[in-house]
Amino acid sequence: MSEPVELMDVDQALEQFDPAFGIEVHVELNTKTKMFCGCPTEFGAEPNTQVCPVCLGLPGALPVVNAKAIESAIRLGLALNCSIAPRSRFARKNYFYPDLAKDYQISQYDEPIAFDGYLDVELDDGTVVRVAIERAHMEEDAGKNVHVGGATGRIQGAEYSLVDYNRGGIPLVEIVTRTVEGMGERTAEVARAYVATVRDLAKALGISDVRMEEGSLRADVNLSLRAKAADGEDQHAVPLGKRSETKNVNSLRAVERSIRHEIGRQAALLAAGGAVTQETRHWHEDTSMTTPGRSKEEAEDYRYFPEPDLLPVAPSKEWIEELRGTLPESPALRRHRLQESWGYTDLEMRDAVNADALELIEATVAAGASAASARKWWMGELARTANNDGVELADLAATPAQVAELQGLVDSGRVNDQLARQVLEGVLAGEGSPGEVVAARGLEVVSDDGALLAAIDEALAAQPDVAAKIRDGKVQAAGAIVGAVMKATRGQADAARVRELVLTKFGLEG
């Protein structure tokens, strides 16, 4: 099957088809050590420095389950309203691949630790959609292949490949939804909101760094189309089409866009009388499209069987209840609580949520800024910068504490709005804290009357005609002097104070 050249417009596609999707989210747990050994899990270490006989799969090595990972998986399962299995087992998923040290992955198969749950997902307009969760199971991550040589960094065209096993054995929880149908034009929005909610939940639980750009939260999106029933035909009688599974969907934006892309692609195929191939596809952020991976029809048989090196996981009822007591409030409840305490309008709140700014605003407020000013910075100047640079707000160099400090400088009158923007520029450029930038760039408002008076005298001397007018009582003429002083102090003077000083000097009232 060749790839369609043209995608069908999504709106047009939705007139003819009803999309159905399912999402697998992999949440990398932030345990200090790996799933089955004592190696550290920190991101970004030198390749193959966080390895041992166990995670390298050396002959004779054996896994031992990380109890903290089980605890995190149970808490996540509970937060997803799942039942926790009184007894679950690990299984081996067998396949050969260089990044898989043992050539099998320890995962869970027919006995996951958590199953049959749901997650309520709130859309922009406040609509709540309940997404059914089939299961959440534990597994270990694989290492990472690094392809060297060739233009793309992909395996095609590479000269050779290296393997970094640092990530191998890091604990993951995979959350699998049931099929979500009937969302129509809101399909992509629901999918995105679901992943965002899972992310917020994992973050609130404190069990993961949920950094999509670092791969600590990854999504695979399954999508298929069902033709709309003709008049008089039973919609349920129309079979669901074959599905594609899109991998490498590593941002919220990509979740939405990859779904729209797949709707357009599958619709174009079907409308042209073709068929959708059941296959794995890869999302490419740069080109905003998916390309086929291996076909599911020739997919490997993973030969799952119970992992004989590990005992079943059998958490006691008491422990599960104890963990239930540690669950944080749900992201939706939290949003409502924050909105109330911050006094934001629905629109303001939605913008903040969409910009992924809640956490940042909350921290900024905690650092002493008012909710309004925190919003002003994060949703204003900082949002513009992030947008221009194509990065997430959280990736900017400015921290909530720095934003609060900056607002403090404004509130105390040490900088004015115009200066504050320059200070922020310095902070974003990595020049240090707002205080440090003010000092280094000399941006503080000049509040020393002596210095201002000297600058006024200089301006009056340079413009004797203006001085004469003011002396004659023409108060408006003072504006020219104020302007000159502002220019001389590069905007660092308080204009109102300068004016006051000029008029006082001539015995006039402002």
Partner: protein, 503 residues
């Protein structure tokens, strides 16, 4: 056998403790013996003279300094090549691991080192412990010291032959379906498969994880117990390791040696006798039963009706687990790498495994891969697990009636090298009496019960409930005492003299 190499580990330990001899002398004597006879026997894949002597000197120095040392400190030991040894090549008898130097020690090896036992070297075995004759070693077979034309049993033929040829007083084996007990039987030595979980598997190159168990091998029951005590006990690095105190096996061996088994109930497994058992094997078994009865034991017959299905279930479970355990030998990280020039990952993996694995290994990988495949899983692996449960129930029922179960260890004495190499099923039948214990996780011992009509050793198997390894030692030591008093000494006194040839 005379001199240092003829002495038991218990004797050597005593002589070392009283400083009658040094560990260097004991170790050197065994190294000399290895140099003299291992050419024709080929029990060892690696001899580590330097490492062994260094360990011996360290023990001697500590003893000279007046330190209190563990019982077996200074007594040398041989280790099956399935256990990884830091800095000492470890191959599991496979070409695919030729030249691999492990960066770590198996827990059992660490415990041997910590207890001061110099490690003489690594013993030969069937490749990845798959076999009953050591003929499947990638490095050539081991020969039975009783008759060099015969097999020493397998997979741990090297560890058993090293004892029978007096190259080592103690050795470590591993038993997945009889690999400690059957070699012990055909070489006239003692071997114990402990309760599953009783000895750590950490650092033991896995064949079938749910069946593998490391155990002690020696020439006497007491020596076996002393070694068992060193290597046993909980290991947090092995999740399947039992987290509870070990039964006192040494005490049990000493108690048994008093010769009194009054009140001990011994069950003869009806299904492990009769057809297929060599007459000499059955005769020696019957005589041993009489001796147990004379020692005061109650002998009853018990039935384990599902045992006839054990072999079939075993040959589905073992290959299934092995097919997964052996996947890691893919040329990516260690061991052999065959690069055919085309050099895609898939081709390098395929070419390496084609060259590095022997036929028996390939046979079982293919079997296991098939048994686990979608659509076959329930019929093969699933059914085999159900049989396993039935066999466990057979044991439960039997042990509700008796304290130990007994049978011949193997149906025949040692066969000729090459005799069964082309008939895998005939080879598999060697393990018919030993396999049920592995499927149920219960402990088992084999000890010599005499020579058959062909002049070759016959093994007597004792099985006990899980966690009751001490019962093996009590009954085994009592039987050993009775047999030796009948023979006028140990069975190995009758082994033909090995011609000493320089290696």
């Amino acid at each position: 056998m005379t001199g240092l190499i003829g002495r038991t580990a218990a004797d050597l330990a005593q002589a070392l403790a009283s400083r009658e001899i040094s560990s260097r002398e004991a170790t050197q004597a065994h190294l000399d013996r290895i140099a003299a006879v291992d050419g024709p026997v080929h029990a060892f894949l690696q001899v580590d003279a330097e490492g062994a002597l260094a360990a011996a000197d360290a023990v001697d120095a500590r003893r000279a300094a007046g330190e209190q040392l563990p019982t077996l400190a200074g007594v040398p030991v041989a280790v099956k090549d399935v256990l990884v040894t830091k800095g000492l090549p470890t191959t599991a008898g496979s070409r695919i691991l030729q030249g691999w130097l492990p960066p770590y020690d198996a827990t059992v090896v660490s415990r041997l080192r910590a207890a001061g036992l110099p490690i003489l070297g690594k013993t030969n075995m069937d490749e990845f412990a798959m076999g009953s004759s050591t003929e499947h070693s990638g490095y050539g077979p081991t020969h039975n010291p009783w008759d060099l034309d015969r097999i020493p049993g397998g997979s741990g033929g090297g560890s058993a032959a090293a004892l029978a040829s007096f190259e080592a007083p103690l050795s470590i084996g591993s038993d997945t379906g009889g690999s400690i007990r059957q070699p012990a039987a055909v070489t006239g030595t003692v071997g114990v498969k402990p309760t599953y979980g009783g000895v750590s598997r950490y650092g033991v190159i896995a064949l079938a994880s749910s069946l593998d168990q490391v155990g002690p091998c020696a020439r006497t029951v007491l020596d076996t117990a002393l070694l068992h005590e060193v290597i046993g006990g909980h290991d947090p690095a092995d999740s399947t390791s039992l987290d509870e105190p070990m039964p006192d096996v040494v005490d049990a061996a000493r108690l048994g040696a008093t010769g009194d088994l009054t009140g001990v109930r011994v069950g003869v497994v009806r299904e492990l006798s009769g057809e297929g058992y060599q007459p000499g094997v059955s005769a020696r078994f019957a005589e041993s039963l009489e001796l147990l009865r004379a020692a005061g034991a109650d002998i009853v017959e018990v039935s384990c009706p599902n045992f006839p299905y054990a072999l079939a279930a075993y040959y589905l479970i073992l290959p299934s687990e092995a097919s997964s355990n052996l996947a890691k030998f893919d040329a990516m990280r260690y061991g052999l790498r065959v690069d055919d020039g085309a050099s895609t990952v898939e081709r390098v993996m395929g070419a390496t495994r084609a060259v590095g694995f022997g036929d028996e290994v390939k046979r079982r990988i293919i079997l296991g891969t098939y048994a686990l495949s979608a659509g076959y899983y329930d019929a093969y692996y699933g059914s085999a697990q159900k049989v396993r449960t039935l066999i466990q129930r057979d044991f439960d029922t039997a042990f509700a009636q008796v304290d130990v179960l007994v049978s011949p260890t193997a149906p025949t004495t040692a066969f000729k090298l090459g005799e069964k190499l082309d008939d895998p099923l005939a080879m598999y039948l060697n393990d018919v009496a030993t396999i049920p214990a592995n499927l149920a996780g219960v402990p088992g011992m084999s000890l010599p019960s005499g020579l058959a009509e062909d002049g070759l050793p016959v093994g007597f198997q004792i099985l006990a409930p899980a966690r009751a390894d001490d019962r093996l030692y009590r009954v085994g030591a009592a039987l050993e005492k009775a047999l030796e008093s009948r023979w006028g000494g140990p069975l190995l006194a009758r082994i033909p003299t090995l011609t000493e040839v320089a290696r």
